[in-house]
């Protein structure tokens, strides 16, 4: 999702990261920052060598992305349920300033347990912000376990629809399909768009796929590291 968004969709220029007409993107699920850092480095917002310092004491790259620290990061996230409201503000500002930029907010499925997300959704719909896109990484797994167990989200598409969004559903691993959907926003003029991206957590790494125990894993065995190398080598 982050790859397609940053490589194929966002109108951004690393040489002019504060361009007032750039598209805005907020990784509201800030814990997914590794993917963001890799893309920002690849796009040239900062040197690739910064990636080696991830979470180091003097690194610009922390365990959650910080505005002002990381070029290309629009908002500090990490506390869940904040990004969509900030996105509403950015999108409303675009309308008031008569600017053409779009605002994309990437949310986790567990994150949308937060009531503030639904407050923001009502606000976005009230203002008819069709320059705002909420992308939901729907991998059906949150920290403790399945979203269906922790706090069921279904019928998720109907929820967003009933909150006033135009809803698209897509296989979040299908790059072509994701690109097509993202390039067609707004899905409906006058409405904010929600794109529910069906994904598999840890996709491509058999030990991690849909495995809640892998979620906060930070110590890897040699055999797990070997498995990651094999999996990455397949890409």
């Amino acid at each position: 999702m982050v790859r397609v968004l940053y490589d194929d969709v966002l109108r951004i220029d690393p040489s002019n990261p504060r361009d007032p007409n750039r598209d805005r993107a907020i990784l509201s699920k800030g814990h997914g920052c590794l993917a963001l850092y890799a893309l920002l480095a690849d796009r040239g917002f900062f040197p690739l060598s910064e990636l080696d310092g991830f979470c180091g004491s003097d690194s610009i790259l922390g365990g959650h992305p910080e505005y002002g620290m990381v070029p290309g990061v629009e908002a500090s996230t990490g506390a869940l349920g904040h990004g969509l409201s900030i996105g509403v503000g950015l999108a409303l500002a675009a309308r008031m300033r008569e600017r053409s930029y779009r605002t994309f907010v990437l949310l986790g499925d567990g994150e949308i347990n937060e009531g503030s997300v639904w407050e923001a959704a009502m606000g976005a719909a009230k203002h008819g912000l069709d320059n705002l896109v909420a992308m939901i990484d729907y991998n059906k797994l949150q920290s403790y376990g399945p979203t269906d167990y922790v706090l069921p989200l279904e019928p998720l598409a109907d929820k967003w629809r009933s909150f006033g969004f135009a809803v698209q559903e897509v296989n979040g691993h299908d790059v072509g399909a994701l690109r097509t959907v993202l390039k067609q926003v707004p899905a409906v003029a006058g409405k904010p768009t929600a794109i529910i991206c069906h994904t598999v957590k840890g996709k491509g790494l058999p030990a991690a796929e849909s495995n809640a125990d892998w979620h906060h894993k930070n110590k890897l065995t040699d055999s797990e590291l070997d498995a990651i190398r094999v999996a990455v080598g397949d890409f």
Binding site: S85, M96, K126
Partner: protein
């Protein structure tokens, strides 16, 4: 005070296109004139404070100066994480206009009584905390908010508070106002405790006790220099606040003195609300009186504190 602050938002909006008013679900007709003159900059966003703070952050990132307005408890307790992360961490120029600071909503009970708001707001890095004493000062204060860097929490009183501030004192964020020169006692006040301090000082004067008053309208950043200057030669330092004893003006003053003076601290009396939720209703005035914050009770507390102090006048220096 509230009407004045609201009208100032309209006035500032007329002068500066960055100014927005964002209310949750305020009283009918709030800033109606502004809503007619600047409908796109008068936003009513529903009872969704967490969202409103985040949305204000987004607008401020794009150069707007949002004035967010609702009842103090909902602007602090309800959306504390949004205030901390979205506003303070990003250091954005959003102004939180808190209706009913302290016990203004006394009859509505503890859910509406903002008795710890100063503490929790001043704990946040980058936050500025201002408590004007009357409508005139609120107007002067609002003039200063337009270009202040970073978020501001503005604790408003009830309205109709006696006008005691003076135009010649001016207003500068972070600069305390010496309302009466120091004497045996120095009272440090914020918000509407100034009126009570002035009355208490008159009562004390009748007893032959000279009491100075330093009005600390800005609790953060605290004007430590003015404080150190004002306590010179005093026997007793008294802080007055419509707030729990933890983390408010009294705490801020004590922290500043410890940091600056270390040893040789002045005798200090912190007069505040008790460390508990109020289960009484009535009025702001009646609850303040009940908790020893009427002018006469303040004067009596000070007299007792002076009488209990058998130590010679401490040598206070602002070194």
């Amino acid at each position: 005070m509230r009407n004045t602050a609201m009208n100032m938002v309209h006035k500032l909006a007329a002068r500066d296109e960055r100014v927005l008013y964002i209310g949750s679900d305020p009283g009918a007709g709030t800033l109606r004139a502004m809503s007619k003159e600047f409908p796109k900059r008068h936003l009513i966003e529903g009872i969704s404070e967490a969202h409103i703070i985040g949305m204000s952050a987004g607008l401020a990132m794009e150069g707007f100066v949002p004035y967010v307005n609702t009842i103090a408890t909902f602007l602090t307790r309800r959306c504390y994480e949004q205030v901390a992360v979205d506003l303070c961490l990003h250091n954005l120029p959003v102004r939180l206009i808190a209706n009913g600071g302290g016990l203004v909503y006394a009859p509505l009970g503890p859910t509406h009584q903002a008795i710890e708001d100063i503490a929790i707001m001043r704990a946040l890095p980058n936050m500025t905390v201002i408590c004007p004493c009357d409508a005139d000062e609120a107007a002067r204060m609002m003039e200063q908010t337009l270009d202040w860097k970073g978020p501001i929490y503005i604790r408003l009183g009830k309205g109709g508070d006696a006008i005691v501030s003076k135009a010649e004192h001016g207003f500068e964020i972070g600069k305390a106002i010496l309302m009466r020169s120091s004497g045996d006692v120095l009272m440090v006040t914020t918000g509407i405790m100034l009126q009570r301090a002035l009355a208490a000082a008159d009562l004390l004067a009748a007893q032959g006790i000279r009491a100075g008053i330093l009005h600390m309208h800005t609790v953060k950043p605290l004007d430590t220099a003015a404080l150190l200057q004002a306590i010179r030669g005093t026997r007793l330092l008294v802080t007055l606040e419509e707030h729990v004893p933890s983390g408010g003006l009294g705490s801020a003053v004590a922290e500043a003195l410890i940091d600056k003076l270390g040893s040789g601290l002045p005798a200090m009396l912190r007069l505040s609300l008790p460390d508990r939720f109020m289960h009484n209703y009535g009025s702001q005035d009646s609850l303040l009186k009940k908790h020893g914050l009427s002018a006469s009770a303040i004067a009596t507390s000070i007299e007792h504190a002076l009488a209990a102090s058998h130590t010679p006048s401490p040598q206070l220096h602002s070194t």
